[in-house]
């Protein structure tokens, strides 16, 4: 038996029964969407279409429609790529790392966080794909024999490692997510009355019957995949950081980059999960499953990772000053006081200063503040990548090459378009998938449900030899 101290807050409110949990979570799939959903979906889909249009415009006209120039050859595209990949980290972190740490509050949020991961990685993968310009030979990314193209990839290049890291990450995340979904799909299947829908859910649930052997294998696979995903999720942003850190560009080549990028990725990912969940819990009436207690835990992680990122920023600054390397010294001086100072200070205030507000319990447990700050963090993390990429590039070693980067409407449009793609996918997900892991949530009802906790509180006191408290 797994017992829980009464001073821990319950994770499931409303004195639920097992049946009620199923009812509550499956409801959005079985019911009809309201007007609000259609409205938001239409806006997202239109934005996505607009972004796709601009992507085709880029293919037709060439990369020249972006604001890149001979000195700044990487700007919005790679910024967006890193931003989206970073957002994708939270899903795996919640599903794998928090599983290994036995954090029960993950049960309410892992499903939607994993979905978000997958959609974010899709958005991220768009950017290197379209940056090649000649999308019809995009398969040259892969190490294919020369008869498929004239280029053999460079195994010494971190960009290639990145390709491997992200494709592995995407496949394993997808597998992990899908396996978790199987029992829940079976639950939906068993309740469906529309024959066509029933058929679909029967197919996707792979004939799950819920017998003991299946559950046993399910648990084993989950644990193995969690073990595999943990190093994978760390490797992805590690290798993204190496895209920069293996260069000799001041501000990019610094050894703290790998863990610092990973911390930043988790930071931005949690912020995006917060943003989405705060809306979702309201729209789908899931406030009793995704409670303020859950939001508080997420906010604590945002505060922690934000502070880790802050320590990394300060470390970079101090070591650049300490090192005596004039180029490094200049790169950081230029970030903070050069022509992009506003981007640097936006990054600093959004990422390091604003999460410190979560030290205050009232703010940490306020839905409005959580929502507001999660957006601020998302903005800050976009600026972080912009600052790292553009301010380091626009001041070349050769002062005659010094220049500025200005985005064009196509740059901006494609980025907004990927936001559209992301929200379109997420909205579709929220109406056709069980957005909370039903089976997993049930597994903690008789530990962390409020009804159960009330019933067993006195047992807990009796069981120990403690004579305390309150």
């Amino acid at each position: 038996m797994n017992i829980e101290s009464p001073i821990r807050e319950p994770l499931i409110l409303g004195n639920k029964s097992y049946h009620q949990i199923t009812e509550d979570i499956v409801k959005p799939i079985e019911g009809r969407a309201n007007k609000m959903w259609y409205l938001v979906f239409t806006i997202s889909a239109m934005t996505a279409l607009w972004g796709l249009g601009l992507i085709f415009y880029t293919f037709g006209t060439g990369i020249g429609v972006w604001g890149l120039n001979k000195t700044v050859g990487w700007a919005w595209d790679i910024t967006n790529f890193v931003w989206w990949i970073g957002i994708g980290h939270a899903g795996t972190l919640i599903s794998a790392v928090l599983l290994l740490f036995r954090q029960k509050w993950r049960m309410a949020i892992n499903r939607s966080a994993e979905a978000m991961t997958i959609f974010a990685v899709i958005c991220a993968a768009t950017f290197p794909g379209i940056h090649v310009g000649r999308v019809w030979v995009v398969y040259w990314f892969f190490p294919l024999p020369n008869e498929f193209g004239s280029l053999w990839v460079n195994f010494n290049s971190p960009l290639l490692w990145d390709l491997f890291a992200i494709s592995t990450y995407f496949s394993v995340s997808l597998g992990f997510w899908y396996i978790g979904l199987i029992p829940d799909f079976a639950t939906v299947r068993d309740r469906q009355i529309i024959p066509f829908m029933r058929k679909i859910y029967r197919t996707v649930s792979f004939g799950w019957s819920g017998n003991v052997k299946q559950w046993q294998r399910f648990e084993e696979v989950s644990l193995v995949l969690a073990g595999l995903s943990t190093p994978l999720v760390l490797s992805v942003h590690t290798i993204v950081s190496m895209d920069f850190a293996t260069s000799v560009v001041p501000g990019w080549h610094t050894t703290i980059f790998p863990p610092y990028f990973v911390a930043g990725a988790i930071f931005s990912g949690f912020a995006m999960v917060s943003t989405l969940l705060l809306v979702m819990r309201k729209v789908l009436n899931l406030e009793e499953y995704i409670t303020i207690n859950h939001m508080e835990s997420m906010n604590k992680i945002i505060m922690l990772t934000g502070s880790i990122v802050g320590v990394a920023y300060i470390t970079e600054l101090v070591i650049a000053w300490y090192s005596g390397v004039q180029y490094e010294h200049y790169a950081f001086l230029n970030r903070a006081t050069g022509p992009y100072w506003w981007a640097y200070w936006s990054m600093m205030s959004c990422n390091v200063i604003s999460p410190q507000l979560f030290w205050i319990k009232k703010i940490r447990r306020s839905l409005m503040w959580s929502f507001f700050l999660s957006i601020i963090v998302n903005i800050g993390m976009w600026f972080e990548r912009f600052v790292i990429i553009v301010t380091s590039l626009h001041r070349d070693y050769l002062p005659s090459s010094w220049t500025m980067f200005y985005p064009t409407w196509v740059d901006v449009g494609i980025f907004i378009g990927t936001l559209g793609i992301f929200f379109t996918l997420f909205l579709l997900f929220s109406r056709s998938f069980p957005v909370i892991a039903i089976a997993e949530t049930k597994s903690i009802l008789k530990q962390s449900g409020d009804g159960w906790k009330k019933k067993t509180e006195s047992d807990y006191e009796k069981m120990g030899n403690t004579e305390h408290h309150h």
């Binding site: 038996m1 797994n2 017992i3 829980e4 101290s5 001073i7 821990r8 036995r102 190093p231 760390l234 590690t238 190496m242 850190a245 293996t246 260069s247 000799v248 080549h253 610094t254 050894t255 703290i256 980059f257 790998p258 863990p259 502070s307 880790i308 320590v311 990394a312 300060i314 470390t315 970079e316 101090v318 070591i319 000053w321 300490y322 090192s323 005596g324 390397v325 010294h329 807990y460 069981m463 120990g464 030899n465 403690t466 004579e467 305390h468 408290h469 309150h470």
Partner: protein, 394 residues
Amino acid sequence: MNYTFGGKTKILTIVLAVIGLAAIIYGAVATPERLLPNLLLNAFIFTAISIGGTVFIAVHYAGQGGWYSAVKRVPEAFASFLPIGMFLLLGLVVFDMFSTSETFKIWEWMDPEFQKTDRVYLNSGKKTWLNNGFFIGRVIGYIAIWWGFSYMLRKWSRQEDIIGGLGNHRKSMIASSIFLVLFGVTSSTAAWDFLMSIDAHWFSTMFGWYTFAGMFVSGLCMVTLITLHLKRQGLMPWVNENHIHDLTKLIFAFSIFWTYVWFGQYMLIWYVNLPEEINYFLERFSTNYRFVTLTALVLNFVFPLIFLMGRKSKRRYGYVTFAACIILFGHYLDWFQVIMPGTIKDKWSIGFTELGMFAGFLGLFLFVVLNSLSKHALVPKNHPFLNEAKQHHI
């Protein structure tokens, strides 16, 4: 049921400490240039272990961990050694600043001649950062923060035994969060100060987190070893293989984390091959130090990866004891190759000076910590998560 510190264990720790004293005297006479670097090495390692224990407690307070309360009295006792290790570090710093001796030397930059003539020193932030007064001030700051918080957390934990209630728990949660923030900064700066500045021209932004990883792993190893020692005495019956499993899991995880930061630092410097950075590793991979560097890597990475991956291996007391000893020695070697190339260069050796002093510090550490453990109950009986820890099952 309290722990009584006496008999063979007490004699053993005293014998070890006496061996250490003999090694210091022997070292001062026979191998004088190796004396101070070894004092630094051992003082740093046992300080790292002690503060690693406090970090273990603070992390679990802040994250509301439950299971750890079964063993938390062990790392709490580490706080007794902290002032000894840290004041020794301070003593070494002060001695080195005022000593004019050519033989007894650790930090090259403390030489007044270096501070007047070195081009890099004079043309960088080093002139300000590595300034005698500021440096001593920082070391005193580390003592105040690290010892202060360790002391308070232990005090409140003991108070909780007597008065019960949730007051001490809440206070400890807040103090732990504040400590973790301060430690997040000072663990890095202390690593730069005590270790990175030995190679005065070298710098690496990863160095702080690399040192932190080593600190935490060593602390965890020692918590596990002492817990298992107490279990062998028939004490702590509420601690079972589930708790040891979790402790070993953390050792495993943070050994991998250590490797990750080690590799991140090494690979990026190797790949880019800048003269001001690569020199550090050229020295450590020269025929002189290659053996130590690679052995440390094997013991700290390959060994846990292979031997601690499986579930069963984390649950056997004898096996875990062996593994924790190996990893602890691995970190000794790792910090050895951090300190020695910049101080005694090619004149290093592992002889009686080294092994004797390590044994001596170990004896002293165990004496102080076990003595402190024997003075208080091993169970934090009013800890609000104690029942969870007693029922812990994984």
